[in-house]
């Protein structure tokens, strides 16, 4: 069962890069470029992991995250926030709002993959590990 990741990012080139990297890892990658309709999209797509940019047209990533943490169906959704502003304040804000990880652009591809792997929910990772373990047992 493939992991589904949703990228909310308005820079199409960045979106394409991440999509390529994560697809190579075997993940199901979806993209969305507008902040205003992001929550709706997230709920509909119901990803295992969310990669959320801060600076988005229509609505900021912070506002979206706050909404997500307020909804029962997305309260526990693992979220990686990306920001190009490079301010420590953004990192603090993101973590305070409930982001599971925060990365500053530009990032290294391997670091992105590692971080996302760490965020894989326990049951999803158990599924994968369980599959392997089951095979072993």
């Amino acid at each position: 069962m493939t992991l589904r990741v949703l990228l909310v990012e308005d820079e199409m080139n960045i979106l394409e890069a991440i999509r390529f990297i994560l697809s190579r890892e075997g993940w199901d990658v979806r993209g969305h470029g507008n902040g205003a309709t992001a929550v709706e999209m997230i709920v509909r797509v119901a990803p295992d992991i969310l990669v959320l940019d801060v600076m988005l047209p229509g609505r900021s990533g912070f506002d979206i995250l706050r909404d997500l943490r307020g909804r029962p169906d997305t309260a526990d959704l693992p979220v990686l926030m990306l920001s190009a502003k490079g301010q420590t304040r953004d990192r603090e804000t993101a973590l305070a709002l409930g982001a599971n990880a925060f990365m500053t652009k530009p990032f290294s591809n391997s670091e992105l993959v590692e971080t996302l792997n760490r965020l894989v929910p326990a049951h999803r990772s158990a599924d994968r590990a369980g599959g392997a373990g089951g095979a072993g047992a």
């Binding site: 080139n13 960045i14 991440i18 047209p57 190009a84 652009k105 530009p106």
Partner: protein
């Protein structure tokens, strides 16, 4: 009989006693203890300086020579005190209310503080008083002479006696008259000494009288019989002369400088005057009751003797050494008290109205009577006292003859009486003016001097030629009898003539001249003094006064400072209490302290108000107004400064707010720049890593990723270019290359440049080339840059199905406007103000990235080349207006 040396010793002891009394009184007054000083009796007794040695000895002489004529000298004052009490009261009230220091001050104050008038009155007073002082010196010398029989041991030179007496009196007056400058010019020590002398002279005269009636004659009946038999009984009074002399002596009590001093200046309580109104006439009656008996007995017992000395020679002749000594001391008292007070009054006038004004003029400006000035004034007074006594002495030595001096008394009366019309007129008639007063006094004074003074002084041998033949030999202008005026009674003739002309000139001058505002004000204050000054408060004792002073001082200095000042002063005076005695020293200190806060004049007025019961005079008010004006000016300067400070503070706050805002903007800008730089960097890095690691990448993907890296690199470069461009433009270091150029060409270049950029959707640009044929002088490259930005924005943001941009050129009087209007959705109203901000990102919903720096740079360029760039709100699409400055001409 007492030896001459014994007499001198008695005199010295007597004078020492006076010193002691004066000293004790001064100290008592300073400590507020000496209640007896502040009694109507003391006041009344001090008035008795009216009866000088001239009346003490001379009344008997006059009676012996002219019968009851001497009575007029007593009658005049009695009538004034009894009949004109209201007038006296008014003078005293004005004097206290205005803090008048002398008769000259009174007149000059009434006529608008005229310095000239004050000096004139002062000169008049000095001339009128000098013979009088000479007279006193003469009487004392004569009395000494009686004791010094020719050939006796230690026979005195009369001249030296006079010198000693004059010197002693000068010393006494200086010590008790000029100790310090009292705010109210009062001298308690001096007044108590002359009060004592008044008692001595009354007692002496009464004692001699009693001795004469019951000791020499056989009682009142015998005396009456003797009077009947004497020539005095045959004396037939000249009615006119009687009336004249009565009026003259009545005038004298009002206008003699020394009388003014004791009557007004030394007055401590207005109510004392009520007592004096009956007590003083009583005193005069007692002084006169034995005059005729002594004269009659003297004529009988001492035929050929000098009647002027009967008071002294009768007891001596009868072997009554003790009584004679008392009589001598009485005469001595009469002479000394008059000289002391006269010298004091004159010295005040000379110092205040002649020396100090001259000194101030010499010093140019000067200040109020304080510090340095006080010392000058005190010194001037001391010099003046010495000068006055020296003048009296000189006059005495020069005139020599006893007869000449005796007649000078009345002449001097008439001289000083010349101020009467101005004095009384000023108190009753508001229309009286300075010109009238000066004219009246001058004319009266001139007539008096010419007809009475000069002949009498001349007769004494000073100007024999002038007196005998007239000036320049013009006989009809001869002094004494000008115009052939009858010589029957020069005194009466001169009196009627001088006072009548004086009054005439006073009235005429007043009617013909206009009073100054100050004169008008003072006129009202004098004439309506009862409306302007409160009834003087009752004597409340020193503690009350000190209390009041403390209350006042606390208001001005603050409770702490005032309390400390008072406690320290009390401690310095050796009192346990926290309230000091209001001594002159303390009052001066207090005044200085207050002056630091409210100004000298105000401080003086306030302290005077409490201690003297004097109301605030117009002069004070003017000085206070001056100070207030200064303070208001100062305070308005402060206000201005404070306003400036407030303004500066506001500007600083504003600057600070702007700086904070700028700092926030800078942070925000840096954050934006970071974002704009990091975003392409992110793509570049990611794709670079992909390209580096994935050898198996398909050629198409490889080419595509390389393409993205290339594009993002270019985006980075553009961004850096823009940042540098903006930085140069904002710093103002941009150099413009202005050239004449056709507007159409500029637009052509911009359109051409943007057509290369256009991808996908094609933006239709609609122009009217005919309107664009305008030659402008500008930096064409920069203007192209602006137009490119506007066209590119339309390409990027116009969401219409068939996007088009309409460029319209409009010519104004002194400018050219270009409108770039697209047919898109425009910019939401709430974000119109944001579009020119750097990296503004609009929530257009179109998913187009932020505008970056384009509009910010464009607007900066337009302001550099002298035009403007604005968003035109309210249209359907997005509309920008470019304003160009126009020295615009039509293209040829």
């Amino acid at each position: 009989m007492l030896s001459f040396n014994g007499l001198v010793a008695v005199c010295v002891v007597y004078v020492a006693g006076l010193f002691a009394i004066a000293f004790l009184a001064e100290r008592g007054a300073a400590h507020g203890r000496a209640r007896w000083l502040n009694s109507p009796v003391t006041y009344t007794l001090s008035l008795s300086i009216y009866t000088t040695a001239w009346t003490y000895y001379g009344a008997v002489g006059s009676a012996a020579r002219s019968g009851l004529e001497f009575m007029t000298i007593y009658l005049g004052p009695t009538l004034v005190f009894v009949g004109w009490f209201w007038l006296l009261r008014k003078i005293v009230r004005i004097g206290r209310a205005q803090r008048i220091t002398s008769i000259a001050d009174m007149i000059s104050s009434r006529y608008g503080k005229s310095g000239g008038l004050a000096a004139l009155v002062t000169v008049l007073a000095v001339i009128g008083t000098t013979p009088y002082i000479a007279l006193q010196l003469q009487s004392v010398t004569l009395a000494f002479g009686v004791y010094a029989r020719p050939g006796a041991f230690g026979a005195p030179d009369p001249d030296y006696t006079a010198v000693w007496v004059a010197g002693g009196l000068a010393l006494f007056t200086i010590i008790f008259g000029t100790r310090s400058l009292d705010a109210n010019e009062r001298h308690p020590g001096l007044v108590s000494a002359i009060a004592l002398e008044a008692i001595v002279k009354l007692m002496a005269l009464l004692a001699v009288g009693v001795f004469v009636v019951w000791g020499v004659a056989a009682g009142p009946a015998d005396i009456l019989a003797r009077i009947e038999a004497s020539p005095i009984a045959q004396w037939n009074g000249d009615g006119a002369r009687w009336l004249g002399l009565t009026v003259l002596s009545g005038a004298a009590i009002l206008s003699l400088p020394r009388m003014f001093q004791v009557l007004v200046v030394e007055n401590q309580d207005e109510r004392h005057l009520a007592t004096a109104s009956w007590a003083f006439p009583l005193y005069l009656l007692l002084m006169s009751v034995f005059v005729v008996p002594i004269a009659v007995v003297g004529l009988a017992e001492l035929p050929g003797g000098n009647p002027d000395l009967f008071v002294l020679t009768l007891p001596l002749q009868m072997g009554q050494g003790g009584l004679a000594l008392l009589a001598f001391l009485g005469g001595f008292s009469a002479a000394t008290s008059m000289v002391i007070v006269a010298a004091l009054a004159l010295s005040t006038m000379i110092s205040n109205h002649i020396i100090v004004p001259i000194w101030m003029a010499a010093k140019r400006g000067g200040g109020a009577m304080s510090g340095d000035m006080r010392q000058v004034a005190l010194f001037a007074r001391r010099i003046a006292i010495i000068g006055i006594l020296a003048l009296g002495l000189i006059y005495y030595r020069l005139s020599g003859g006893a007869e000449a001096l005796a007649s000078m008394g009345l002449i001097a009366f008439l001289g000083v009486a010349q101020v009467l019309p101005a004095l009384l007129g000023g108190m009753m008639w508001r229309g009286a003016t300075r010109v009238g007063a000066a004219a009246g006094i001058s004319v009266g004074f001139a007539i008096w001097a010419w007809m009475l003074l000069l002949p009498n002084v001349g007769a004494a041998g000073l100007f024999p030629g002038l007196v005998a033949e007239g000036p320049f030999g013009i006989g009809w202008l001869r002094p004494g009898t000008p115009f052939g005026l009858a010589e029957t009674d020069p005194l009466l003739t001169t009196m009627v003539l001088s006072l009548a002309l004086n009054l005439f000139c006073f009235i005429l001058g007043s009617l013909l001249s206009f009073p100054s505002p100050l004169e008008r004000l003072m006129g009202a204050q004098f004439v309506n003094v009862y409306d302007h000054s409160p009834t003087p408060a009752a004597w409340r004792g020193s503690v009350g006064t000190a209390d009041d002073l403390l209350v006042m001082a606390s208001r001005i200095l603050g409770t702490t400072r005032a309390g400390r000042l008072f406690s320290e002063a009390a401690a310095a005076q050796g009192r346990d209490d926290h309230l000091p005695e209001p001594t002159p020293d303390f009052l001066e200190l207090l005044e200085r302290e207050l002056a630091g806060s409210v100004g000298a004049a105000t401080a003086h007025a306030m302290v005077g108000q409490i201690t003297g019961g004097a109301s605030v005079s117009v002069r004070d008010l003017l000085a206070v107004a001056d100070e207030t004006a200064h303070m208001m000016e100062y305070s308005s300067q402060l206000e201005q400064k404070s306003a400036e400070l407030t303004e500066t503070a506001a500007r600083l706050r504003e600057a600070n707010r702007k700086l904070t805002e700028l700092s926030v903007q800078k942070d925000s800008f840096l954050s934006q720049v970071s974002h704009e730089l990091r975003t392409p960097m992110t793509s570049i890095r990611s794709f670079s890593e992909i390209l580096m690691q994935a050898d198996t990448l398909e050629p198409e993907a490889r080419a595509r990723f390389s393409r993205i890296i290339h594009d993002e690199s270019q985006r980075l470069t553009r961004l850096l270019d823009d940042l540098l461009d903006l930085s140069v433009l904002e710093s103002g270091r941009v150099s413009l290359n202005r050239q004449p150029v056709l507007l159409s060409e500029v637009i052509d270049r911009a359109v051409h440049a943007t057509s290369a950029l256009a991808e996908g959707r094609r933006l239709a640009i609609i122009r009217d080339r005919a309107t664009e044929e305008i030659e402008i002088v500008t930096d064409a490259d920069r203007l192209v840059q602006v137009f490119i930005n506007l066209i590119a924005n339309a390409q990027k943001y116009c969401v219409a199905e068939h996007p088009e941009l309409r460029i319209e050129v409009r010519r104004g009087v002194d400018r050219v406007d270009l409108e770039f209007a697209d047919n898109g959705e425009g910019i939401p109203a709430r974000q119109e103000s944001l579009i020119f901000e750097k990296f503004a990102r609009l929530d257009s919903g179109s998913g187009v990235p932020g505008a970056g720096l384009g509009l910010a740079i464009s607007r900066e360029i337009m302001s550099r080349i002298g035009g403007g760039l604005a968003y035109v709100p309210g249209r359907r699409g997005a509309v920008f207006r470019v304003a160009l400055p126009a020295p615009a001409r039509d293209a040829a």
